[in-house]
Symmetry: C2
């Protein structure tokens, strides 16, 4: 920097001023030009370590995640946070904890030592978490998880609206007898989606108690078994809503085995919009997308704008429907005689 100043015939101070032009200083255009030329000529780049030391900030966000290699999830959260951060000149320092408590604690300490400007904590599968107290020393936003007393602002998928949207996909096509093969009963997501499902049914003038709802576990197997169970029923529903895309895959298999076509004989809807699953199966699956990318982006955005103190305890982002070809009009006479 001293060199630049020398070449431009100004002091290092002036160089600093023109480089970090923050509006509070007024440097003559001529001088500015000379400085820029010198910077260019010398290939000068400011030393970030020195800036960090001086300014106490690093343009860096620490991202602590359960498991980076789990899809759909961390990758998208990170991608969203990354894109927002990148657009504002910040970068992401990522830590993968594999849910290990000691790692989480060490990660927070280390990130704090490295003077990250903020922390994003993201979990795979919405759940309650308890974080080391130290996170309070820096602005923090939780993605897809929350703390006991909502002590830290968080962003969550709006599963209730998602459940409504998924159901609506079937309702809009004219279905009036739909089965819901839910995910694992205990999960936060499951409860929200089921509630949304019932709301949509009721809003369409259908009695939720007359529709079939059976509990699954988010695995393809349960989608398969549950669908087979449905097939043994006298009145096969015209539409099947699955807890997630994997369960929908199971439903596809069971339906194919039974010689039933999608969507001609039965319509199927998933949840998650999990690539490449949904686009690779035939027909492509109608589903609802979880806003992982958006949540990551939202978190980084709030953090970078430095307005985390005025944030509501919980923010919900919508799960948009992703209609594809697995939903069609209901078959007129979908009645089947029980097999056996």
């Amino acid at each position: 920097m001293a060199d630049v100043g020398r070449l431009a015939g100004v002091s290092p101070t002036t160089v600093s001023f023109v480089i970090n032009a923050d509006g509070t200083q007024t440097i003559s255009p001529a001088t500015q030009q000379r400085v820029f030329d010198a910077v260019e000529q010398l290939g000068y780049r400011p030393n970030r370590a020195a800036q960090n030391l001086r300014t106490q900030q690093t343009s860096t966000i620490g991202v602590i995640t359960d498991e980076i290699a789990v899809e759909p999830f961390a990758g998208q959260v990170i991608a969203g946070a990354h894109d927002e951060a990148w657009s504002q000149g910040s970068m992401l320092l990522v830590v993968n904890t594999m849910r290990s408590r000691p790692v989480i604690e060490a990660a927070v300490e280390d990130l704090l030592d490295r003077q990250v400007d903020a922390i994003i904590f993201a979990s795979a599968g919405t759940r309650r978490v308890t974080l080391p107290a130290a996170v309070a020393r820096v602005p923090t936003v939780l993605v897809s998880c929350f703390t006991a007393g909502n002590t830290i602002p968080c962003v969550l998928p709006d599963e209730v609206a998602g459940g409504r949207a998924a159901t609506q996909l079937l309702l809009d096509a004219g279905h009036t007898r739909v089965a819901y093969l839910t995910g694992a009963p205990g999960a936060w997501a499951t409860r929200g989606r089921l509630r949304g499902h019932r709301e949509a049914l009721a809003a369409a003038g259908l009695d939720p108690r007359e529709q079939v709802v059976v509990p699954g576990n988010y695995h393809a197997d349960s989608g398969y078994e549950l669908t087979r169970g449905l097939l043994r029923t006298p009145h096969l529903p015209t539409g099947i809503l699955c807890g997630n895309d994997r369960m929908a895959l199971g439903a596809y298999l069971a339906l194919a085995e039974a010689g039933l076509r999608i969507p001609e004989d039965v319509s199927v809807v998933g949840y998650d919009d999990q690539d490449p699953l949904v686009t690779e199966i035939r027909p492509p699956l109608s589903t609802v997308r979880l806003p992982f990318y958006e949540m990551g982006r939202w978190a980084a955005g709030r953090l970078l704008s430095g307005t985390t103190d005025r944030l509501p305890p919980r923010t919900y982002l919508t799960c948009p429907p992703s209609p594809r070809r697995s939903v069609g009009p209901p078959r007129i006479i979908p009645v089947r005689t029980p097999t056996l």
Copy 2:
């Protein structure tokens, strides 16, 4: 740090020495203890920004990746690099380029400004890349890609051995008539796998020219179509090897439609070991795993040990077979009459 020294009754220098005990200094145990006590009592933690400025290194590796949210790929590479880095006290600064040239250039500059100790450049799908010249300013390793003159050390999956392993899964079960539904013909991976396939065939005493090989494109659709093509053939092979797991999924669908069971009627082998696909479909798919995690880990390991100058231009990591239940003994009489 001055406070710590004061509390322990020593100079800041001494504090630095005991904290960074590098063996070159000898501090009396008593003094060390006093320093540690003071550190503990004050909750002192060294300021990384200051250390970075002073030592010119940051215990940080920059990871530049095509697309972080693409599975199977960047997530695992990052997870591997992360685990290795973490075990040595380093962290990862990740940048997602979406293959944009300007972003790649900016990323390298920014990472260099931030004084990363090393850079890992990872691509989705092995291919040749050209990097900004500036990467040369810091140790760099390429993952799943390579440069024109092999100017930068890289680590790649051993696709030839992988192709052999995949084929061997079928051969070991007793198959002598196998079809290979390849991935996109132009791809580096496709060529290696095909070569390995032929080697395995030859090594088993089979004439590669008598086996059927048809080109696909890595999508489920092509697996589906190609398998249907096979079904129209008088002699259906007893084993089908697919270019990747998605194509295998297509094969599953085509086989199910034709009323053929896996592995009783036909055995199927995939490639990639893509979760959750391979474990969620029935039967679970026998496949070959791409060593993304290992490549990431390997890259970080070499970089951190500071021995990148003595590295061979290319290092191949094995693709281990992942046998599951989609392979069984060949059917005695798999002959079918053409379905016209």
